[in-house]
Symmetry: C3
Subunit: 385 residues, 3 copies
């Protein structure tokens, strides 16, 4: 602080003297005057509070939470998958090409476990299904308004012709429609492919990259021998053999395979790369977890299914086989967080720690004033010097 | 601070005395000596500054920004979609299997609204299209260099045979090429499927998981009755009925449906899960927004389209129907941020707040020295005790 | 601090006097008493330490690390891709529809560069391949156990009939199986499509959105002329022309094209949007990088391939052409970080800076006590007032 002159005389000389004074004062060193309170009880309280704060920072902030690290979440990730295995329905053998959709081996794919096939559909006219609402079957008495020609029911299968025709099974009648005929609900046949499905193997090649730290790693062993031909994943002994049996995945997700194979469902394979990059790269390992992702208990629209078709030309006219496929969709989800020592968070946390230890002094002042016999010890000492 | 001994005598006794002194001094309590300036004006300024800083921290940092929370962005997310509805072109009825690509019900899918069909393509020779550059039609006088056999134009349709043949329409001639014939531009027929498309319904099942807080939630109502059969999404009354009409999505994104259906485009359905996990789970709700994602005003390559084909064998030779599909691609994008009370950010922010209130004292000193009648009040009081 | 009354008399008057005293004391201003140490050497050390800390904060924390900004990582992103070009195998011309899978133009797609075709497969019986283990061919002497009828080898091609039949080539015999026949390994023919593939062009339309800052940008030039028809990407001169040659991408990723086209592989095109939103939007530019993503040196399961089929009906029975496709999968990965000035990090960092400069004083005290001739200068001055 500039030493204030009591009576500044006017003129250049005074200004110069002031400047010189300021300059000189700038190089002075100031330190607060302190009072030393020679009270052992107070000292113990003071140091204990400081110790607690110090412990909190050293143990929790620095060791547990690793607050001295800069961190990055959401690594760049690439996933390649490959399913192997064959299965049987009642009539035929199914190979990977048929039951895995889409075939490209990306991070999301479905393994079909049950199908409802409607073969030989072609564009023509046929009986519409009766209006069906899952959960509450409405048995409608067909009235005139149901036969209006040219009407299009958004949840139906085609354009109404205006006629009334017998239904596929039973003696009732329904509206006739123009569209892909026969309609799915009237003519489909169910086939179960899931018998051998628990033994399908799924290879999940995943490599991640943390751009901030220029760190890359993959989840696969680099071994010359035929290790990857025979191994299956095990959390401890075969962590770097990312070959999973479908049954294992479903079991780890806590689901019943047969039930899941009938209704379909989505299972997430979550790969977690939590890495402390201050340690060696070999300490940065993937952690796999498995969880069912679709809502299981929603009565309407539970499970997972989709429709696809194969188109044929027979004698010049187009025919298709419509397939409603129930399956187990596997979503490979990769996330993670990497941390590495960095100056800024370290300094911010250190400064916070030091400030907080200073808070200890503030707390002590408050304790002193409130609980201690302050008149005897404190105020006596405070003004005695 | 260790009380410094004036003249430390040599020898063990002195060292011991010093150590004892240090130890004793360690348990002393120190507090800065303060000067009390009994000036009401200065006190008001001082307390006002402190109050302002306190208000800023309590209101903005802690209440508005929730800086006492630890946060996590980018939840693990799983999306299952299902489109329902049928539509008409001039000649036929189209169902979901035909107009949704890919069919698996993932987070990105296209609803085809217009197609250009090139039927009965087979491998053979035919006339190449004339070199066409959108925006600047080049009317080339065909020269000899255009007929070089074996040449391959990367943007053309095949390998040049070296002959010159009449074009599909009109009297002009073009190069002949070997490839899938006839070529698309010469023989394709346009069909519009978008008439009923605004009434298609899209069910979006989304479940998220914040791994740091072990919190999961879905966007769908768990109700036993047939609620999900009849409802459509409404931001207030039906937030947990994620069934959207395609027309609603396009309208919310601020686009004209007919125009979009002709050129194709990409619409993002953004689901935002911003959750304060200190509150109950029922306060953590999805927020939907809709935005066009592809660049609308880029003259070249605007809109969205892709090509796929259906392959047939007719009398042993392969024929295909090439389809250039314009459509509305829906990208379901899920993001979010969750926050929950945590000690570290709370303490860092508290320490910062306390430090900043201390800064109030510093500011006051500065005001005092600069503006107040310091000689009379301050320096008088400062050194009087 | 409340001025403590030495002997508080009982009664209301005393309480009132105490309250009045407290109220009065609340508006007092307190400032620590300081000692001015007029030592030039110490002052220089003190100011230098402060200067160093100040420089660190101004330069590193505020200028380099931009700690005054609030940041957001992981923008919402949408990617549309379009591949153009035709190529030749020995027998035929291939267009985009045939070699790009899936066709929808999303952020992950494969360009097929080599195929192994198994034409005319139908459900029937044929010879199984001999058990093959890549890397270590096992020449098994077929025993009785290999012919058990009804056995299903998960890595084989069908259900064993129990018979022993001659293999496709050579004189050896293998088990007979029921399945899609003939099996792939016995009857497939290889075709190489990659000759012209380096010249394929890939258009990558990407638009991003930072929801926290309401900032959107695309990677494509908005120009009216035919610029996008002719340009190819160049990091400096054509940054906003996102049209890449496949050969350029592979070269930038440091791979050999021919080798990659034979074995298949995954190349990541990483688009990085690091934006300082305090500057103008034109300073926020995409940065492209290219990297091979699949593990290259894993002996088993290296490269990238997948299987798909085309189904035909010939004379009422189903036939398929199975295609094992090796290709270059392109993963467009978008990430980025945006920062914008925000009060909270600024204040936290400022408070940390001020605290740290205060630490300078603490350091000086320590230097003073340890190294300086403290008895002469310091303790003399400390207690002199």
């Amino acid at each position: 602080m500039a030493a204030a002159e009591p009576k500044p005389p006017a003129g250049v000389a005074a200004a110069r003297r002031l400047a010189r004074g300021c300059w000189s004062a700038f190089w002075d060193y100031e330190t607060p005057k302190v009072i030393v309170v020679k009270n052992r009880r107070l000292g113990v309280v003071y140091r204990s509070v400081q110790l607690l704060i110090l412990l909190y920072f050293v143990w929790y902030v620095f060791i547990v939470q690793k607050s001295y690290q800069d961190s990055e979440t959401g690594p760049e990730s690439s996933v390649i998958t490959k399913v192997k295995g064959i299965t049987l329905s009642e009539h035929k053998v199914w190979d990977v090409e048929e039951y895995v959709k889409p075939p490209e081996g990306g991070s999301v794919f479905s393994i079909i476990t049950r199908i409802e096939v409607t073969p030989f559909q072609s564009l023509g006219t046929c009986a519409e299904v009766r209006p069906k609402y899952e959960g509450q079957q409405r048995h409608l008495q067909l009235g005139d308004e149901d036969f209006v020609a040219g009407q299009l029911d958004m949840l139906g299968n085609g354009l109404r012709t205006g006629r009334c025709v017998p239904y596929y099974h039973g003696s009732s009648k329904t509206c006739e429609v123009t569209g892909w005929c026969p309609v799915e609900d009237g003519a489909s046949v169910s086939q179960f492919l899931g018998k051998m499905a628990p033994n399908f193997t799924i290879l999940v090649k995943n490599s991640i990259h943390y751009p901030k730290f220029q760190f890359s790693k993959g989840n696969i062993e680099h071994r010359k021998d035929g290790y990857l031909k025979h191994c299956t994943f095990h959390e401890v002994s075969d962590l770097y053999c990312p070959i999973f049996k479908l049954g294992y995945i479903v079991e780890q997700a806590g689901e019943n395979f047969t039930e899941l194979a009938h209704t379909g469902g989505v299972i997430g394979v979550i790969i977690n790369w939590d890495c402390d990059l201050d340690l060696s790269a070999s300490k940065c390992n993937p952690k796999y977890s498995f969880r069912r992702l679709d809502p299981k208990h929603v009565p309407a629209s539970s499970g997972y299914n989709f429709r696809f078709a194969k188109y044929y030309k027979i004698n010049g006219s187009t025919t298709r086989t419509l397939i409603k496929a129930y399956g187990i969709r596997i979503d490979i989800i990769v996330h993670g967080q990497a941390g590495k020592f960095s100056l800024i968070p370290t300094i911010i946390n250190l400064a916070t720690a030091l400030t907080s230890i200073g808070v200890g002094s503030f707390l002590c002042d408050w304790i002193l004033l409130t609980f201690m016999n302050k008149n005897k010890v404190y105020s006596h000492k405070k003004f005695d010097k």
